[in-house]
């Protein structure tokens, strides 16, 4: 498969950055559009830069890479500031405050923060301290969003996070989680285990990040349970960078597999390893793959799921979609809800959402 015929150029360039050497103007055009749409413009620029390929990008697309990197840098600076404000607001409570996802990658200086874009900050606190944390944050200027009673109840009862908070002055968004999956999800990774294993962040007293295996498993759980796949390829790229970084540490893969059992996350591990290897050529040891295959769903579901993921994990841009992708995304959307809530809730929740959209 050469560059010209492939539909998803972002995926191709992430996997094999050298392929951009052969790009025509028309391919560059599609790549820039797809990458921007997938939130991967700055990451791609950074990966090309690492391989000394950025300087030879033609002027047209190069301007977009510059624009994307400038934007990502500004967003990263904003996340750092927000973390300081959040730590200040919660300091007197002395509770475990764990940074999650991109926020963690950035503050911990991980390769997964390369060219990372941000729309919000994610943190985790113990469930029994959630009310205190919320009160302290509101005192410091954060206000709830999602004002309908239904949404408030939905979040507080079923979800693993507060309704997103927005700072009234800075307009920045904050997601406060108490678990990495909702209480009502079928998989139940115990939060106390994550908190116990969390590692303090150098240079940031009071802040922690998940242990490497937990960080990877969280990324997998989040990716494969999330109802909106628009960040799918970006999250997969994050996962690829996490695995390449931590995978070099002795004993990591064994710890990862072991930990997935402790946290009830074997199925997401199976998907995560399989999909990163297939799509981004992540070097996953065969032993890890073989062990995780034990958690695979049985045929024919396995084949169906592979197909669904392959479609959903493309960049969401129009030119990257094959005809089936709309359906694949919808099927995953329904699946995400199914995993999240017991079936009795499902119909009423979807019905409310549908009504709201038409209004």
């Amino acid at each position: 498969m050469n560059a010209e015929s492939s539909l998803d150029l972002v995926r191709l360039s992430l996997r094999d950055p050298d392929c951009v050497r052969e790009f025509s103007a028309s391919s560059w055009e599609r790549l820039i559009r797809q990458a921007r749409s997938a939130g991967l413009l700055a990451r791609l620029a950074a990966l090309l830069d690492e391989r000394a390929l950025l300087a030879s990008v033609p002027a047209g697309p190069a301007a977009h890479f510059l624009a994307g990197r400038t934007l990502a840098s500004a967003q990263q600076e904003e996340v750092r500031r927000e973390v300081t404000h959040i730590a200040d607001a919660l300091r007197s409570l002395s509770l475990p405050l764990i940074l999650l996802k991109g926020t963690a990658y950035l503050l911990a200086g991980l390769p997964a923060s390369l060219g990372r874009t941000f729309s919000d900050v994610d943190v985790l606190v113990p469930k029994n301290r959630l009310a205190e944390a919320e009160a302290a944050l509101m005192l410091a200027g954060w206000a709830t969003t999602h004002h309908s009673d239904y949404d408030q109840r939905y979040y507080r009862r079923w979800m693993h996070e507060l309704p997103p908070l927005q700072h009234i002055r800075r307009q920045t968004l904050l997601d406060v989680h108490h678990a990495i999956l909702p209480d009502t999800a079928r998989l139940k990774p115990p939060s106390y285990k994550l908190i116990e294993a969390a590692e303090p962040l150098d240079g940031h007293p009071g802040l922690s990040v998940l242990s490497p295996a937990d960080m990877v498993l969280h990324s997998m759980a989040h990716l494969f349970h999330n109802e909106e796949m628009s960040n799918g390829l970006r999250d997969l790229s994050d996962l690829d960078l996490l695995l390449r970084h931590f995978g070099a540490r002795p004993g990591f893969w064994e710890q990862l597999v072991e930990r997935s059992k402790e946290l009830d996350l074997e199925r997401p591990l199976y998907y995560g390893l399989r999909q990163t290897q297939a799509i981004l050529d992540t070097p996953v040891p065969t032993t890890a793959l073989a062990t995780s295959n034990g958690a695979a769903p049985r045929w024919p579901l396995r084949g169906v799921m592979d197909l669904l993921w392959a479609h959903a994990l493309r960049s969401p841009h129009r030119t990257a979609r094959r005809p089936m992708t709309g359906m694949a995304l919808f099927a995953l959307y329904v699946r995400a809800h199914w995993l999240r809530m017991p079936p009795v809730q499902l119909a009423c929740h979807l019905a409310v959402k549908a009504t709201r959209r038409k209004a």
């Binding site: 559009r33 921007r36 749409s37 697309p61 301007a63 977009h64 510059l66 624009a67 934007l71 841009h317």
Partner: protein
Amino acid sequence: MTPRALRQQLHGTGLRLRTGPIVTSIRSRLDAVVDGISLHYAGHAVEDATAFADFSVSVERPAGLRRWISPQVVFSIDGDASFAPLPGDQGFPMLEWGLNWCVSSHCHQFLVVHAAVLERGGKALLLPAPSGSGKSTLCAALAFNGWRVLSDELALLDPRQGHAVALPRPISLKNESIDLIRAFAPQATFGPVVHETLKGNVAHLRPPPDAVARADEPAFPAWLVAPRFSASAEARLDPMPKARAFMGLVSSAFNYNVHGRAGFRALARLVDDADCYEFSYHRLDDAVRIFDRFG
């Protein structure tokens, strides 16, 4: 390009229109858009299908029954149509608005300031101002009286070097300004007046030939003037304290926050190097006469 070829590209794979540093692939089946492009962009370069396009946009009627009852126009960028539609005959203003949106939202290789920019003798005049200040009216008057217009709306500033880059596009005028400029600059070519629900009457005028021909000539800002159209007859040009001029630029820059410290330094250098004024005027010929003193 023949009208037929133009229509073919707009209806088909897209017309790759160059406006200064930006190439936009435009698709539209609306006559108002085809006619508007034909009139206002007659002097602009069109790139061929193999050239890189920065953005891909379309202005179309949305599908569905609505198109017969109460037609609308919808702007899409890269297939994303998540902008509020406008009523049926506002296709060309919608395109212009959409092109501005692309640049101000995505072109962070520049510091993008809400300002008109003109050039004379190699030096640039920056007119930062919110809508309703008379900036576009003044810009149009100057564009036909000795000044080359780089932009009437979006100043593209290089964040490192500080020069303004030209983005030659039609000048948009509203309500009374339309007749004012028709009278003041009879050589200007206007498109049709379109009634916009929010702004009143809107018309565009074609950029003068030199604006397009010399689009690849940048210029360093030598004068910064904050204009204000005022009821009083006396035209006044008063020196403006530079710190205030700076803060005005900060609040007029769409993507100031994206540039962080570099944005602060870039605008500070601009203010360092430019003479800063506040300008209130009522009559256009007073304005042209006063600006004649510059340079």
